[in-house]
Amino acid sequence: MNHKFGFGFWASVGILFIFLAISIVSCFWTPHDPMKVAISNVLMEPSSEYLLGTDSLGRDILSRLMLGSRISISFGILAAFLTMTLGLILGVASGYFGGWVDYGIQSVVYLFQGIPGYAFMIAITGILEPSMFSLTLAVVITSWTSFAQMIRGEVLAVKSKPYVKSVIVLGATPFYCIRHYIMPTVIPLALTLLMMRISTTILLVASLSFIGLGIQPPLADWGIMVQEGMTYYRTFPRLVYIPGIAIILFCGCLNYIGERLRGYYL
């Protein structure tokens, strides 16, 4: 990428901000109570009171969407952040220290890469009963390897540069070298990867919730909303379209920004 970020980039940032703002606002206020079941109001069309209509249990769709945004996005950020931490530590250790440390970590990486991520996530959440803990564990265990590999590649590239080599020869401790030389190059890459990892996590959690192995009802999550809308899809397709579009919009913008940033830094 040789020129500044264009219109698409900033438009995506804007959309992301809107979503984040909605999620934060939903902590304090939603148009209606997203969990309040009101059978007398089921499946209503969008009106001035219920801006996006109601779902099959009479809950306001807009409020559930806001709550779902908060839960999906915050879980995505948390899980992706944990993945980044683990991947960063192991990637830097593996790339910087080399030798046995590298060999050991690489074998573990190879082992984990042999298990298809999605299958493993299903197995973990299925066996360990779906909960926040098992969900986070599943996401982190299956995603950290690609993170660690990319970080390791970058660390190796930086470490071979002359200015780093000279600092090591001059007697810098590993801690000093990592903190002042490796990190400034690696952190931007890690942050870029983090954005894309958040989007992947949200997609994974949504599809796990769709199957019933992720976030449990009555909490709202974009995946659960799609699943709940499935029964009434033929007559009320908006129950399915609305959360789906939310997912595509949010994750698509995250991915787009991530790709642009990656092109900028690499």
Binding site: Y110, I122, A123, I124, G126, I127, F210, Y233, V240
Partner: protein, 315 residues
């Protein structure tokens, strides 16, 4: 090249061992007791403590962990993967029948996405319209984030119910795999177009292309002989990634389309706490993944013989 292949196979063995270990440990962490589960499956039994003890002994659950693990491993190697708690059939047979469907589905999906992405990428590279290129780039990024379950439902609604082009669910013939394969292929195609285009552009700027044009070779000839061949390499690793994730991620699509593949088998196993089946699933997915890795590596070596001479191979 043979030694390269052997090294890969040798590396696969400890990996599969590790996977079996992980599967075993995972199951030991499960909150329910397998003996109790298998006794109460039909929902009517309320087994006494003695019956549970007998069942535990029968399933070998009172042996020390290491012995349980080695027994299970020995069984795996001899083809005895245990019997399902539900149907009491051998787990291996059930898994193999199911994996046919899943592998077929994945192969279809990869073929479909390649056959859409490659021509599109070539057209993109050959055209010089900047707006078309940036907008297609944008579209392909967003397409790559479409959740498969959502797309599956939309696809069924539009194509199977409203237009009756495809069967809505079930596995009657190969044709019923087409719509699920398209649904699986679409997110992949988005990324594939982008990578393909970047790689084609790289090739296009090479000197030999200029030379071929100067020689007067027709454009189709150039595209076929040079550009496609040389750009396939970078696409191959992406395809490898996608094959692996498609094999695992076909779960949701299989569920929605009611296809009797590995995905729906394991989901059912999880819901009914069919532990031997879940263990077998993890192991067989590991084996399939490693096989796919080996195939992709072989394709690499076949397409670019320089790699097999022990150059740096970045995993």
């Amino acid at each position: 090249m043979a030694s390269y292949l052997w090294k890969k196979v040798l590396l696969a063995v400890p990996t599969i061992l590790g996977i079996t270990l992980i599967a075993f440990i995972l199951l030991q962490l499960a909150p329910s007791d397998p003996a109790l589960v298998s006794l109460t499956l039909d929902g009517t039994n309320a087994p006494t403590i003695d019956e549970i003890q007998i069942k535990r002994h029968e399933l070998g659950l009172d042996k020390p962990y290491i012995e349980q693990y080695t027994d299970w491993l020995k069984g795996l190697l001899h083809g005895n993967w245990g019997n399902s708690y539900i149907t009491n059939e051998p787990v291996l047979d059930m898994l193999i029948t199911a994996s046919f469907v899943t592998v077929l589905l994945t192969v279809f999906a990869v073929l479909i996405s390649m056959s859409i992405a490659l021509p599109l990428a070539i057209i993109l590279v050959m055209s010089s319209h900047k707006t078309i290129r940036t907008s297609v780039e944008l579209i392909s990024i967003f397409i790559a984030t479409v959740p498969s379950f959502w797309l599956a439902m939309v696809g069924i609604h539009i194509f199977a119910e409203n237009w009756s082009l495809f069967p809505t669910n079930g596995y009657d013939s190969l044709y019923s795999l087409v719509l699920p394969a398209i649904v699986l292929a679409i997110p992949v195609t988005g990324n594939l177009i982008r990578v393909q285009r970047i790689s084609l552009e790289e090739v296009r700027s090479m000197n030999y292309i200029l030379f071929a044009k100067a020689k007067g070779l027709p454009i189709w000839h150039i595209i076929y002989k040079y550009m496609i061949r040389n750009s396939i390499i970078s696409v191959l690793s992406l395809l490898g990634n996608y094959s692996r994730s498609l094999l695992g991620g076909a779960v949701v699509v299989e569920l929605i389309f009611s296809l009797p593949g590995l995905g729906s088998a394991v989901l059912q196993a999880i819901q009914l706490r069919d532990y031997p089946m879940i263990q077998g699933y993890i192991v067989i997915m590991g084996i399939i993944t490693i096989l796919v890795n080996i195939v992709i590596d072989l394709l690499y070596v076949w397409l670019q013989p320089e790699i097999s001479i022990g150059g740096t191979h970045e995993s």
